[in-house]
């Protein structure tokens, strides 16, 4: 393998890893705050991609506008899911909310089948993302620069919200001690709703960029990336945002690089995530950055 090829693989890894990381953040934030695994998160990712498709084909919006609108609509949808499916179960045993999450996941998949039909759809990609740039003898797809860069900015925005704003302080408080957060006057339900909104917005961004990278939409497109991102979150230490980012990137690199260096393993690509999951559960069940179970976000 020459240097040019390696750079391409590197950028591809970074791209895939960023997409996993953005989804993983949503899993980890919701888990950190509610100890709930939001199984519907992969469907949120899928709907984010479809909303852009709608914006482009039905309303003929320009790309950036369609993207921003889709992210906002998806954020609202995530908050709605919380209000309808999880909030009434806040005081119920945790397994109830988990079952509700699985229900929402199937429900959203089927809603997507009704509205968008099960046939895969092509996504229009703007040309400036398609045409490779030549840097010396390295051919770089603009997309493989665009995705990591946009992801990076989104993550910086997230860090700002979590560590520099009042709402972020509320999130960090709730994730540690719900009852005392109430006593401090933290509007708990509002902060939880915002958490769902942020997680869903990031998943939508990921779904949209995923659709640019692998330009086909299907109602089940969120299942496998959702599962892998969940594994990435567990690997990084569920509840830890930094862990989710690292987990996502590690998974992206493992998938791309293994196939690059051992092309004969390409058929097992989807299994890597699960091997990673088994390994981390055996060696360090709390994940890379996961401390004690109560030490989250």
């Amino acid at each position: 393998m020459n240097a040019a090829m390696f750079i391409q693989h590197f950028l591809n890894s970074l791209t895939l890893g960023s997409l996993y990381a953005l989804i993983a953040i949503g899993y980890t934030m919701v888990y950190g705050i509610l100890r709930l695994i939001n199984f519907a998160h992969g469907e949120i990712f899928m709907l984010g991609a479809y909303f852009v498709f709608w914006g482009l084909t039905l309303v003929h919006l320009p790309w950036p506008v369609a993207m921003v609108l889709s992210i906002l609509v998806t954020a609202g949808l995530g908050m709605l899911v919380d209000q309808i499916a999880y909030r009434p179960l806040r005081d119920a045993p945790r397994i109830s909310a988990l079952i509700s999450a699985i229900g929402v996941s199937f429900f959203l998949q089927n809603v997507a089948i009704v509205f968008f039909q099960a046939i895969p759809r092509e996504v229009y990609r703007p040309e400036w993302l398609e045409n490779p740039i030549l840097m010396g003898d390295v051919r770089v797809l603009p997309l493989t620069l665009f995705v990591p860069l946009l992801s990076f900015f989104l993550m910086m925005g997230l860090v700002y919200i979590v560590y520099r704003t009042k709402t972020g302080l509320g999130m960090r408080a709730i994730s540690r001690d719900l009852e005392t957060s109430y006593l401090m006057g933290v509007p708990v339900n509002r902060v939880i709703a915002i958490t769902f909104g942020i997680g869903s917005a990031l998943a939508a961004a990921s779904g949209i960029m995923w659709a640019l990278r692998y330009p086909q939409l299907q109602p089940i497109m969120g299942v496998v990336p959702g599962f892998k991102a969940f594994i990435a979150a567990v690997f990084g230490g569920i509840g830890s945002i930094q862990g989710a980012v690292i987990g996502g990137l590690v998974l992206g690199f493992i998938e791309i690089m293994t196939v690059a260096f051992f092309p004969e393993l390409a058929g097992y690509r989807d299994a890597f995530a699960f091997i990673l999951l088994i390994l981390i559960l055996l060696v360090k069940p709390t994940g890379l950055l996961g401390a004690k179970p109560e030490d989250k976000v």
Partner: protein, 234 residues
Amino acid sequence: MLKVEDLHVYYGGIHALKGISLEVPKGAIVTLIGANGAGKSSALRAIAGLVKNKKGSISYKGKDISHTQPVEIVKSGIVMSPEGRRIFPHLSVMENLHLGAYSRSDKDGVEKDIKWVFELFPRLRERQEQKGGTLSGGEQQMLSVGRALMSQPDVIMLDEPSLGLAPLLVKDVFEIIREVNRQGKTVLLVEQNAFAALKAAHYAYVLETGIITLSGKGEELLADDRVRKAYLGG
């Protein structure tokens, strides 16, 4: 100011408070003493809005607050420093104080009150960037009281502030309570340390397994035979 009438609290089948009534006048230190499990925390948690399953009336400044959400209760001017202090160990002293002020939106006022809390507790100023979890027990108690004060309360409820502290620090804590009261805050104090609490309090209630069995001025109860036998070691 704060008035509780015929308050019942239930946990599943457990009837933890069986109709207690008490009154906290403006500017006073009122204490609720009793053995472990008597229902002291339940009473405070019910007032703070944390207990859903309750009966009876709780009124504050003439308004019924027995169905009010915890956030609104904090906004209305009643705050609680919970049993065990419940500092956020992963957040800095400063962040813990800002959390106490979460219900406020007057930024300047919050900054001013942080200065005020640091004047009350100079130790906290020194440790402002340290994580709450690294503080000693006494410092955590100061932070818990300081954090509660950050909401600009009229009434501050303290659940066993002297719990687990060395005797010397216990003295400090009661001095803090008197000081907070001198600064104009009404105090509802829950304690197992009956002697110190009765000495500090203007008025006191004795709680036994969910029922108030005695009440009176602090110094009266200190002299009461029944109280001396049960809580003051003869």
